[in-house]
């Protein structure tokens, strides 16, 4: 099973403040604009898609959502400069996002 939430690294990052971390995790659900991302992908607006994935990557990194973060990195590498991504990686991105959200719901 991939590491969806690296609790240890996350707590180290926020100075051991578990309450804060869980509060931030609770906000993850709404922090990534998946609707706009899907629209951008449909319209092949790769710059726009890149912006959203870039933001997602920043948040995932800060919350230590390791598996999803790593997929963000892969997808971002492909999208850079407005290039089309590998659609399989986009699908995996969506899948990991969904799984991560489910994991978060168990914790929060």
């Amino acid at each position: 099973m991939p590491t969806y939430i690296d609790m240890k690294s996350a707590l180290a990052r926020v100075g051991g403040n578990e309450i804060l971390y869980k509060k931030l995790l609770g906000k993850f659900e709404n922090s990534i604009d998946t609707k706009s991302l899907e629209e951008a992908v449909q319209a092949q607006d790769w710059l726009k898609a890149g912006e959203i994935v870039h933001a997602a990557k920043g948040i995932a990194g800060n919350l230590s959502l390791t598996a999803f973060y790593e997929q963000c990195v892969i997808l971002m590498d492909q999208l850079r400069g407005g290039n089309a991504p590998n659609m399989a990686d986009y699908a995996k991105f969506k899948q990991l996002l969904q799984e991560t959200r489910a994991e978060i719901n168990k914790v929060v």
Binding site: H54, A55, K57, G61
Partner: protein
Amino acid sequence: MVAKKKLLVVDDQEINRELLVALTSDEFEVFEAENGLVAQEIIDTYRFELALVLLDLHMPVMDGLELLKWMNETKLIDSIPVIMITSEEETSFLLEAFALGASDVMNKTFNAVIVAQRVKNVINLYSYKAHLEEKVEAQRNALNTQEEHIKQMNNSLIDTLSSTVEFRNLESGKHIKRTRMLIKIILQAVKDEYGLSDEQIDTISSASALHDVGKIAIPDAVLLKPGKLTADEFEIMKSHTVKGAEVIQGLDMFKDNDYYQYSLDIAKHHHERWDGRGYPDQLKGDEIPIWAQAASIVDVYDALTSKRVYKDAFTHEKAIAMITNGECGEFNPKLMDVLKRVAPQLKIMSAIIRDEDI
């Protein structure tokens, strides 16, 4: 309780902002902005109260670089440090951010310890820099004050030295003061033609105080003689120009200074005349430095309008007429025009100084 320092977090992602706020709010009063435009308003409101800005690069509406540019234009970047928040793929923007005055960079994946330490370091660095600049400024001011003080001391020493000569001559020290003032009036009127700056004129005016310093070497029997001088006595009297130049040449410490050249020229040549019939070198026309020409006119004017052991004071009008119609030797015709023009000024200034208490 000491008020917390203010810190501004600029990031379009709410979670990132909230995390940074949580990591810094123990020590700071933290403000948040979701883009550069909102940040601009906050910075404009709190200005130098802000201790630091944490700034994301990519944001909608107005991004980090745009905000940095604005902080440059307004010079706010000199007083408010900025730490950029970036991810590794944004290194190309970083060069620009640094060029625009960003102090440091922090990875987007924050770490509590690093955030706290970086923020502290940059704030300390900036206050240290500001402190240093203040110190340098204070030292510069102290030096200027000192320089001004030394200048004043030099002037007053030179005036005192010159005045002792005047006192021996049974005149008040006011001749020096009037010479300084009147020479300024004349040179101001020809400054463009002779390419003189205000600063030069000030220096010449100070240097003119030494014009008669050579009289210190003239024996009382000649200097204080009430009647007409014999030919021999007059030769001795004339030597005060060359003696004065010798005294000034002894002032080695002034040699690199404009002051030195002006005082030397004036002491030596303030009795030369335009037609070459003056002394000691019979210089002609503009061979005589313009400051010495001005000094000679002022010296004659002041001698005429002052009472001496051998004569009464002439009126201002009489003195001007005597100088301009050639009774006191020939002067630069341009300076004669100037003299007529500034005569009313001379009359007023000279009277004011004469009436002052010693």
